[in-house]
Subunit: 251 residues, 2 copies
DNA sequence: TGTACATTGCGTCATATTAACACATAGCAT
DNA sequence: ATGCTATGTGTTAATATGACGCAATGTACA
C-alpha cells in the first residue's frame, strides 16, 4: 500500500488517498492485483496519496502505471469511502518506523483518511507486477481466493466488482482484459467469471456478435484439445462507439 | 455554499467538501435546489464541509437536512471531483471577509478542495428551502433553466443527472419525488422529464404496472380538466424490494 | 484405424418483451 | 348537443430471449 520515495507529507493532499482494484483475466480466472507488505504480511489493494498539485484521476493513472507498467488503460472511479474510523489504528508507530517514516510525520499517517476507489481492467499478459518497497510482494490473486485485507479494502473490492457487474449491462467488456486475438468461448468465460454464473453458449454467441464489435479472423486457435475455435479481434472503432453510447440491453 | 456557525477549520477534514444535487418534481418540471450567495449573486449547489469526526455519508445527510428540513431521504453518492484547479481563485479575500472568515482561516479556504457529489430525490411539497446565511437565497430551479454556477458545479450537476438517468434503468423512481397519491400520467411525466424524451402512454402504463410496485386506489383525481385520472400509491414493501434487487430491464 | 468423447458452430422453436397504433370513455368548454 | 382533450384498454407485428437439437472438428486411446 505504501510507496517508497515518499515525499514530505506536506506535498500531499491531506487526508486523501486512492485505492485501485486492478482486474486481470488469466487461466479462466478473474484476478486482482494485491500487495503484501514486508512488515506484517498483511494484504492490501495497491494505493497511494494524491500530490497537492495533481488531479485525482492523474494520481490513479500513476498508481496503476507504477504497479503494472501499463498506460492508456481502462480506469474508472467508482466510489469514495469515508467512514470516520476506516483507518483508525491502522498504522502503529512500529509499522511507520519499519516503513522509514520520520517521527514528525507519524501524526499525518495516523490521521483520518478518505479514499477514492478506482477499478482498472488490464491485459494480464502485458502487466508486469512491480514491488515498490523491499520485502513487498505484488501478486495476482483469483478473486475467489482473496485473503483478508487491511482496513475496508475488502469492502472496496466488493464494491468494485459489483460496479463492474452492473456496468457490464451498459458497456462492452473484453478489449482491456483479453489478448488481441481471442475466441468466443474465452470471451464467454470472461463474462461468466465477472457475472458469477454460466451463460448459454449459443445465446451468448448470438448476442455478442449482434453488438457489432467483433471481427471474425480467418484463423483458428492452435494447440488446443478438441475442435479448434475460431479467433476474433475487437473492432476498436465500433467498440469505442458502443462504449460511448452504451448498450441497450444487458445480460 | 458556505454555512454559518462555521467551526474552526481545524474541526473539519482538510481539503474535503460535499456538494449535493437535490432534485424535486413540481409542475411537471424536474427542479434543482440552488443557492445564491448574498456576496456576489453567484449560484451554487448546496454543500458543506465534513467534520473531522463525521462519516461522509452522515455529512451529506446533514447538508440535505439543513437545506430542506427533510430526513430519511433517498441520497446517493455518485462521483468525486478532484481536479487540482477546480477551486483555484474561488474565494477572494473580500468574499471571505464578507462571510466573516477570520484572516488566519483564509489559507484554509483558498487551499485545494476535493468534493464528493451526492444526489438526492425529495418530495418537493414537503421540502422547506432554508437559507443559512443572511442575504442568501435558496430556490428551486427548473433543471432546464439553471444559471451559470460557481466552480465546476455545472459539471457536478450534469453528472448527477446522467447518473440518475442511468439508474432509472436499474431501479424504480418516484416514491421519493411524488406525493403519496399520484396518477400514472404524473409518474410518466416524471420519467419523461428525467429522461428528456417522451414515452408512449400505453406502453408506459403496461411496463410500470408490470413491475408490481403500484397500488391502484379506488379514487380519482379531482378538480382536473378532462377525464379524471385514477390515483395510485406505491406499495412500499414491494418498492423497497425492487430497489434492492434491481430492475431487469430499462427504458 | 476407427470409435468414444469433448468442444465448437450453426440452427430451431416457443415465449416474452417492445414498439406502434386503434378505439372507446370521461369531463370541460362553448 | 358538439367539439376538444386527456385517460383507460386492447391489438398486432417486430424483435429479443431462453431452452434446446444436431452436425462438424479434433483429441485420446483401444
Amino acid at each position: 500500500m505504501l510507496k517508497t520515495h515518499l515525499k514530505n507529507s506536506k506535498e500531499y493532499q491531506p487526508g486523501l488517498s486512492i485505492d485501485c482494484v486492478i482486474f486481470g483475466f488469466d487461466d479462466n480466472q478473474l484476478k486482482v492485483l494485491l500487495i503484501k507488505t514486508g512488515y506484517d504480511d498483511s494484504w492490501s489493494l495497491p494505493g497511494g496519496f494524491v500530490s497537492i498539485d495533481e488531479d485525482i484521476d492523474t494520481a490513479a493513472v500513476s498508481i496503476l502505471q507504477s504497479r503494472t507498467g501499463l498506460t492508456g488503460i481502462f480506469l474508472r472511479q467508482f466510489a469514495t469511502f469515508g467512514k470516520v474510523k476506516r483507518n483508525q489504528d491502522h498504522f502503529s508507530s512500529d509499522s511507520l518506523a519499519y516503513f522509514g517514516i520520520p517521527l514528525e510525520e507519524e501524526k499525518w499517517y495516523k490521521s483520518r483518511f478518505v479514499t477514492i476507489g478506482y477499478y482498472a481492467l488490464v491485459n494480464f499478459s502485458k502487466a508486469i507486477p512491480q514491488a515498490d518497497n523491499p520485502g513487498e510482494m505484488v501478486e495476482w490473486i483469483d478473486h475467489h481466493e482473496v485473503p483478508e485485507l487491511i482496513l475496508d479494502h475488502r469492502e472496496i473490492l466488493d464494491k468494485a466488482l459489483e460496479t463492474l457487474r452492473t456496468e457490464l449491462n451498459l458497456m462492452p467488456v473484453g478489449y482491456n482484459l483479453l489478448p488481441e486475438k481471442f475466441t468466443i468461448p474465452e470471451l464467454q468465460k470472461l463474462y461468466e467469471t465477472i457475472l458469477g454464473r454460466t451463460l448459454d453458449r449459443r445465446n451468448f454467441l448470438r448476442k455478442i456478435t449482434s453488438i457489432g464489435i467483433l471481427t471474425k479472423l480467418d484463423e483458428k486457435k492452435s494447440n488446443v484439445a478438441h475442435k479448434a475455435p475460431n479467433l476474433y479481434s475487437f473492432d476498436k472503432d465500433k467498440y469505442e462507439e458502443v462504449l460511448k453510447n452504451g448498450l441497450t440491453q444487458g445480460w
